[in-house]
């Protein structure tokens, strides 16, 4: 007998009482959606910028290797997307469009099409996600409603810069992934 069969038949052999699958009610949030979202991102050690603030920041900073896949800032790329993700090791900045953001925790949803290469938001030293204010939802429940039955091969909720607290519980931003997250609300 294959292990598959062994496991499945072991389960079949157990008398299990039926248990109904509950429906999930609509849960919302108490506060205003945009303000809550901004608070969440700040709490996650990210920043929220307006388009103008972002543009000022970008001119003042120096990012030799930059990839922008945002439709709002399509001409900013200094390099094109390579075939091999390893070549992105020294990527300074990635600018991506997020599909929607979740107010209760600041999580922003991105899929393969938004990323180009899956490694982009992780390997970039700094990450900017551009989000339309219209695309903010209250909780993860509305988030998954938005995702629906989408069939992207990969999707990710990103909520802040990479961080760790593994040394004596002191929070350090910039573990393996992006050292900063800026969310541009348009």
């Amino acid at each position: 007998m294959s292990s598959r069969e062994a496991i499945l038949s072991a389960i079949r052999g157990i008398k299990l009482e039926p248990k109904p699958l509950p429906e999930i009610p609509e849960f919302g949030i108490q506060g205003e959606i945009e303000a809550t979202f901004v608070q969440s991102i700040l709490g996650n050690k990210g920043e929220v910028l307006s388009q103008a603030e972002f543009e000022t920041w970008l001119t003042a900073s120096n990012h030799p290797k930059l990839i922008s896949r945002s439709t709002h800032f399509s001409d900013l790329s200094t390099i094109s997307l390579p075939e091999d993700p390893h070549q992105l090791n020294d990527l300074d900045l990635a600018i991506l469009d997020g599909q929607f953001g979740v107010a209760e925790n600041g999580a922003i949803w991105l899929e393969d099409a938004d990323l180009g290469l899956r490694v982009v938001p992780f390997i970039a030293e700094h990450l900017v996600i551009v989000l339309n204010k219209k695309n903010l939802v209250a909780t993860m429940h509305q988030g998954y409603e938005r995702i629906g039955s989408a069939t992207s091969g990969f999707g990710v909720f990103i909520a802040g810069p990479s961080k760790t607290a593994d040394i004596e519980q002191s929070l350090v931003v910039g573990a393996h992934g992006a050292k900063s997250l800026r969310v541009v609300l348009i």
């Binding site: 996650n44 909520a159 990479s162 004596e168």
Partner: protein
């Protein structure tokens, strides 16, 4: 060594023990506070618990559905009855890709299967990439906590370790500095690994996708650079619907660390073009636990670690005192199912205070299961050896209430035990505690005199 011996050892360094308790209490407190910002918190716990009940009641069909969908998505599915088979499957995949070095993100399951030593024996260089896990790996230790693997270490110890292994400045204990050093060290490993291994937080039956949650981004760094992604998944990790993730992701990070969500919540559905994606579905004692009516609920666990942070025993005895892959309250109800003899003292490492059950996001009745395991363990006295039954009996007979009062009742129950044990003069109660003063008369005598 038994839990009490390990705990006494841990408590010898009083300052360290106090620090450990306070650090974990801080996490517990953060969890308490954030859970109270969600008015529907208890509803979410109820829903999560009901969804997991439904999963366990239909585990077979859900697994088949998951497999079918994952295959359609281009994922290769493997099944492993136990840890050994799981490890062999991993090694086969590595061999097929001629891979000598892998990166691995946090997976309690691979700890449970003892994958690292197995691969190392077979000449594979395994690098754990979660910072805490990397730290304990460099020290040749197992994680002491399922979410905070290096919580038993002070920054001085980590600084020394990094000085030796990563050549950081001697004496520099700044967590930011040490983290940056680890980032550079691990970046190289990420870039060099052909195969990346991850655990699985949730597998979705209706879509065949699975979700991995990290704060550091180490799982993603590994898998998106590697040619092959191997995901190791306990068969109980299934959720029926994609939308169930809404419930579980709201609960997981808040329960684990008191943050609103983990930073990276990656949903893997199909491999990137030209890459391979494998899922290994592992039993390793889970179907046996499912068959134990009183204990099957332990399989609802989502490994958030909240029961450890809240446990007054865990906080004061440390993860290693349990001597099991999963420590703390949940470990104490899972481990006896795997090896009752080895873990026989764990269900007794509790006051049955119930804090674990109240904190658990999927409402596992942990402390009631601890109570039930005690009943099972005493039934197996014969097999477990005299030492254990003597130890338990000593507990009963040496506490003042029993010692003085209920002797006859309990002696009848345990008539096999020698009187010398029952009346042993070295009473563990009295080592650091006074006995209550004996009153002139009992209440019964008073009542007889004054009221009847």
């Amino acid at each position: 060594m038994s839990h009490p011996e390990n705990a006494s050892e841990f408590l010898k360094d009083q300052a360290q023990a106090k620090w450990h308790d306070e650090t974990l209490w801080f996490v517990r407190d953060k969890r308490d506070r954030i859970s109270k910002t969600i008015p529907e918190w208890e509803d979410l716990r109820n829903l999560a618990s009901q969804i997991k009940d439904n999963v366990l009641a239909n585990l077979g069909p859900y697994l088949e559905q998951f497999e079918e969908n994952a295959k359609k998505n281009g994922v290769q599915i493997h099944w492993a009855k136990d840890g050994e088979e799981h490890n062999r499957i991993v090694l086969d995949i590595l061999k097929r890709h001629d891979c000598q070095a892998i990166v691995k993100s946090k997976s309690i399951l691979t700890e449970e299967c003892h994958l690292n030593p197995f691969l190392e024996k077979n000449g594979i260089d395994v690098v754990d990439t979660d910072l805490g896990e990397r730290i304990v790996q460099l020290l040749h230790q197992p994680p002491s906590h399922i979410v905070l693997p290096a919580i038993h270490l002070k920054k001085g110890e980590i600084s020394e370790l990094f000085h030796e292994k990563l050549h950081t400045e001697k004496g520099n204990e700044d967590p930011a500095y040490l983290t940056q050093a680890a980032r550079l060290h691990l970046r190289e490993k990420f870039l060099g690994a052909k195969v990346a291994l991850t655990g699985v937080n949730f597998g979705i039956a209706e879509t065949g996708e699975f979700v991995v949650c990290t704060n550091e981004g180490n799982a993603d760094m590994g898998v998106h650079l590697a040619d092959v992604h191997v995901a190791c998944m306990g068969i109980e990790k299934i959720l029926p619907r994609r939308k169930d993730l809404g419930i579980f992701l709201r609960l997981l990070a808040r329960s684990a660390t008191g943050q609103p969500v983990t930073n990276y919540n990656s949903h893997f559905r199909s491999p990137a073009p030209g890459r391979e994606l494998h899922i290994i579905l592992v039993d390793n004692g889970r179907t046996a636990q499912l068959a134990r009516e009183k204990f099957k609920n332990s399989l609802k666990c989502i490994r958030c670690g909240a029961c450890m942070n809240t446990c007054p025993i865990y906080r004061r005895s440390g993860g290693f005192s349990y001597g099991s892959t999963v420590p703390g309250p949940i470990g104490s109800i899972l481990s006896p199912g795997l090896d009752m003899k080895k873990h026989s003292t764990l269900p007794f490492a509790s006051t049955l205070c119930g804090s674990c059950s109240d904190v658990c996001p999927v409402k596992i009745n942990i402390h009631e299961q601890l109570y039930e395991w005690r009943q099972e363990i005493t039934k197996a006295h014969g097999e477990l050896g005299k030492g254990l039954s003597m130890w338990i009996a000593a507990g009963i007979f040496k506490s003042p209430l029993a010692y003085k009062i209920s002797g006859s009742l309990m002696r009848k129950a345990l008539k096999t035990l020698p009187d010398s044990l029952i009346y042993h003069p070295m009473n563990a109660w009295g080592k650091s505690r006074d006995l209550p003063e004996a009153p002139k008369e009992s209440f019964q005598q008073w009542y007889q005199k004054n009221r009847s």
